[in-house]
Symmetry: C2
Subunit: 368 residues, 2 copies
DNA sequence: AAATTAAGTGTGTGCGCACACATTTAAAGT
DNA sequence: ACTTTAAATGTGTGCGCACACACTTAATTT
């Protein structure tokens, strides 16, 4: 006797476990066992109950569920270690913000970090995490092979995960949040070359350390940049010079810039990491003025350089939002049992001296 | 006997009504009466209870509170009427998204609209809203005087409100979300003049209808724009011409552009509203090519113009986020009883042909 | 045939709160 | 002194769910 649900809060809309039980001709306990896959239910009844759940798209009431206080859930995050104000710090802040919002649902978050220049440290942490059997993981797949292995093992244990910052398409996860690196490199080129005097040198700087560690992001951005160059045949109009920056040897960096500029004036420079304030500093030291310098991320030091004019533009990627939305999607998937989108590119934000303050203040505000 | 709370979910952290009752030596009913200001509590006990609440910063458990199903709350929105794809449509989408998130807490949202070119229609709606005594209001204070009066009456009835789109500082509300119009005008100028050949004409277009209605926003943006012009003494280098666009008389608009261009070539144009696709269209009709045109908001028509190159940049203001965060703040204030920030400027987003797709897709995604 | 066991099923309690209702207490009226 | 009345306070129930536990039935075992 499939009596329709009638009166309950939510405008008589939402189905309750009790309703399902009535429809299936069983008790709530049986429905509960099916919902939580605790077994001890005869096949035919289980089938019938699942059918009703399916047909009515039943979702348990999250309020009641959390209030009933089923055991706490553990979310673990794994990102590179960072100092205050660095890029990863913002991701962490977003994760924390999400944590604050969902802690009422009995969810705790645990932070783990690794050395972004050392893949072993990453592997070590992933092992620890697997051993502790968390309920969900959000991590940044900086090292592709190790990440694939990690994701595989998580999948074996049925632990859902979210990727942030960079994407590894092969990984089957709840969601990815990060920038479309290729396009952001393309945009960097567009910004840099717009209005740039021809027949000059454009510098393409690299952080040696990051490259040797095989940073996925930086490589893709550079590729996007070069796509633009090729598309508009800019290598005919500009001398594009590459330079490797060694943080340990500043005088060498400065000398190198001087040398290039002496050969043909440098009108612009770009670096595909957040170290652009360093690049601007080297330019100043090399006494190469009026170069249009572009880089990534709204770190305090970069913002200072942007505001004093030594950096022309910053490309930002809403790191807090990546962390925040990543955790919220895990919550959505695990607790609310709703579907999510696999790949989510955050927009390429173009920052200028004039708008950077508001950009930062707004993001800060969102994280409170 | 102020026994400390010990065991409860939330890691023994959170205080419950029951705990407060025990501390104050009363029953939960009495505490409940104080919490809901239902009176019928002796002065001394009320004082004691409030003290305990204050000292421990007690916040009722939202899950339990909503589950217990106290009467539904009504949130009302009031924004200009719109067609699909217009600016206000995005604000509405943000409101709807927030509504979906909080409806489990027994909150319903009601939408009302007015004619943005007719202050009477605004006043009429506000009266209806006041008569229906909602629990909260989110509105766009397009007409300043009428909005002040509305806000005053809401205050009298103790109904909290949120402003979106434009700010009226005198209004005492839960929050404002919108762009810093002055700064966005300033940024528009920066974008427009960067790399613009000197000794040319720059067109400053206005929607006649919007101006005659006294649009707060557009006026402030223009002011910001002119601040930049003054600051960098650009009126020496460019002929800045104003033009009023009459949507009813397109040939006149086109003629006017032609005439100005004939006098001195037009290198750039800006309009401080979302009608920039119209402006670009008039330019095309007037056969004035290569002008750098800048305008506001990522409406489909503007995006099309941006992508085909007839518009150089769009300045966007995250309208969905305004609606979304506005409603969430009302929820925060009323249901979660948390404090909020009064003035929240959304960032000035600079859109280019290359990044607009991701920008829109991301926002769309957020609104699902 | 009685006792044991396992599989399947139902019942009861509490999470923290809101609200209706019952009860006590004090003040006022007869 | 006894009722009436109002003010102050306490008690009980249910929101929807999770989980421990009690219970039933039928298949074994002794």
């Amino acid at each position: 006797m499939t009596k329709n649900i009638t009166e309950n809060s939510y405008g008589g809309q939402r189905l309750r476990i009790k309703d399902i039980a009535r429809m299936a001709g069983v008790s709530v306990g049986t429905v509960d066992r099916v919902l939580h896959k605790r077994g001890k239910v005869s096949e035919d009844k289980e089938k019938k109950i699942l059918e009703i759940i399916e047909q009515n798209n039943f979702k348990p009431n999250v309020l009641a569920s959390s209030l009933a206080g089923r055991g706490a859930r553990r979310f673990v995050s794994l990102i590179p270690s960072f100092e205050s104000g660095e890029y990863w710090n913002y991701i962490q802040q977003g994760i924390d913000k999400a944590q604050r919002e969902i802690k009422i649902h009995n969810i705790v978050t645990e932070h783990r970090t690794f050395d972004q220049y050392d893949s072993d440290s990453f592997a070590t942490e992933t092992k620890k995490i697997l051993a502790s059997s968390p309920d969900a993981v959000i991590f940044s797949p900086v090292f592709i092979d190790e990440s694939l292995e990690f994701a595989q093992k998580l999948d074996d244990k049925n632990i859902p995960c979210v990727l942030v910052d960079s994407n590894v398409e092969e990984i089957d996860c709840v969601a990815y949040y990060g920038q479309h690196s290729l396009k952001s490199g393309y945009t960097a080129a567009q910004l840099l070359f717009s209005g740039l005097p021809e027949n000059t040198t454009v510098l393409l700087a690299r952080s040696a350390r990051l490259y040797s560690a095989g940073s996925n992001q930086a490589i893709l951005r550079e590729k996007g940049f070069m796509n633009y160059v090729r598309e508009y045949k800019l290598d005919n109009k500009y001398a594009i010079e590459r330079i490797e920056l060694h943080s340990g040897n500043q005088p060498a960096n400065i000398r190198r810039i001087k040398k290039i500029a002496a050969h043909k004036p440098i009108s612009g420079a770009v670096i595909f990491s957040s170290k652009v304030h360093r690049l601007a500093y080297y330019f100043a030291q090399a006494r190469v003025a009026n170069a249009k310098i572009i880089g990534y991320d709204e770190l305090p030091k970069n913002v200072a350089a942007l505001k004093d004019g030594s950096v022309a533009n910053l490309i930002a990627q809403r790191p807090e939002m990546q962390g925040y939305l990543g955790v919220k999607d895990l919550f959505k998937a695990i607790v609310q049992k709703q579907s999510t989108h696999r790949t989510n590119y955050v927009p390429v934000d173009i920052l200028t001296k004039e708008i950077v303050d508001e950009y930062i203040e707004f993001n800060q505000r969102l994280n409170e």
